[in-house]
């Protein structure tokens, strides 16, 4: 029931994740952060089996940071997304596969292009203008199909996200305790304050 949403706009990527951390019938926390900063211009949002998710995200985070330190430059969003995909694809045929779905938001500082990758636990990767995992996809993709324009700005993206948020709040059967919203652009990763 976790929500993970991403919208790519002309100058950046908007990522939204639900703040509720649930386990069975209980909400354990209403300030959960389902994202990890992998590097200055790469952000990963994730859902899936609890335990696997954070373990996997921080494993990826550590390896990306190690690469940055060793090589002295930042890995491109394209490379990061393939590293994540490859890790999941290898894990799929292991004794205990990671059950983690992820969205990767990035900004390529060389090409000056934003990037959004949809990756599931099988290692399926798709580069998309907007993406969602889980039930949220069923509620929001039709809205995004209708309103998305590829020349949108971050402000337009946030307005579109508000529309999605409204739909989720009316249609989702349980309270997901609002969204945490982040933007990735040329200046890096920033949290967007406000009522979500």
């Amino acid at each position: 029931m976790d929500i993970v949403l991403g919208i790519k706009v002309s100058d950046g990527v908007v990522i939204a994740t639900s703040k509720a951390a649930t386990r069975g019938i209980s909400i354990l926390k209403d300030t959960d952060d389902k994202t990890r900063d992998l590097s200055d211009h790469n952000l990963m949002a994730f859902t899936g089996e609890s335990g696997d998710t954070v373990q996997f995200a921080e494993y990826i985070q550590a390896n990306i940071q190690l690469y940055n330190m060793r090589e002295g430059h930042e890995l491109s969003p394209y490379a990061v997304s393939h590293f994540v995909r490859n890790t999941l694809a290898k894990s799929l045929r292991s004794r205990k596969p990671y059950q983690v779905n992820a969205l990767l938001a990035g900004y390529d500082t060389d090409k000056k292009t934003p990037s959004l990758s949809w990756i599931d636990y099988l290692g399926t990767k798709a580069d998309l203008p907007y993406a969602a995992h889980g039930y949220a996809a069923f509620y929001t993709l039709s809205l995004l199909d209708h309103h998305y324009r590829k020349d949108m700005t971050v402000e337009d993206g946030l307005r579109l996200l508000k529309l999605c948020n409204k739909e989720l709040n009316t249609r989702m059967p349980i309270d997901f305790k609002g969204l945490q919203v982040k933007v990735v652009n040329k200046d890096g990763v920033k949290v967007v304050d406000g009522e979500w």
Binding site: A89, R93, T124, D127
Partner: protein, 205 residues
């Protein structure tokens, strides 16, 4: 739908014409009933050889990368591009290596041999058994529909333009009767000295 080869959906088809071959695929990537992407191409180029890969999308990506790696190494050792017949054997042995834990894919190979100028197509099962064909080869979730279309529309020795029309109609109409295929299509027409790639406008449901 616990069959791994039909989680993501997708289809591909190849045909032989007069001194030309064609290979085409749909563009859908889905998660069961949900359409996720409409830009997921399933035909890949290695020199002058083309590989259509349908089935479990993660394996489609993995195998594309594996074959890119293997054909690059081949080119360095042989100082020439791989030929279609050789590539078909490479696909076969690579898949059979995973005989007891297979990649869930349906591959097809199409190309023209650069020495003999002979058109070549073939398809495989998920563990690498080669099915050579003189006319057409089909794979994917719309394979039944594609067999029906190809048997009905195909004739030998078509010109490149006629082959394009035939393979396009075969793919389009087959995809429209399969819920897991469609969302656009890409068609390659290959002759000895020209490769053309065209995207088709198709139903979006």
């Amino acid at each position: 739908m616990s069959n791994p080869a039909s989680i993501n959906g997708g289809s591909a088809v190849a045909m032989v014409g007069k001194d030309c071959v064609a290979i085409a695929c749909d563009l859908r990537l889905g998660n069961q009933s949900l359409g996720v992407a409409n830009n997921f191409e399933k035909v890949f180029q290695f020199g002058h050889v083309f590989l259509g890969l349908t089935g479990l999308a993660t394996d489609v990506i993995t195998l594309n990368e594996t074959f890119r790696f293997k054909t690059n190494l081949y080119k360095m050792r042989e100082e020439r591009d791989i030929e279609p017949e050789t590539f078909a054997n490479l696909v076969s042995t690579s898949l059979y290596e995973k005989r007891f834990g297979p990649y869930f894919v349906g591959p097809i190979v199409a190309g023209i041999n650069s020495k003999t100028n002979q058109p070549f197509i073939c398809s495989f099962d998920s563990i690498g058994c080669i099915d050579y064909s003189k006319d057409f080869a089909v794979v994917g979730t719309a394979s039944d529909q594609l067999y029906g279309m190809c048997e009905g529309l195909y004739e030998p020795n078509l010109s490149p333009d006629d082959l394009f029309e035939t393979i396009s109609q075969a793919l389009l109409n087959a995809n429209d009767r399969d819920a897991l295929s469609g969302w656009g299509a890409a068609v390659y027409i290959i002759t000895k000295d020209k490769i053309s790639k065209r995207y088709l406008k198709s139903r979006q449901d």
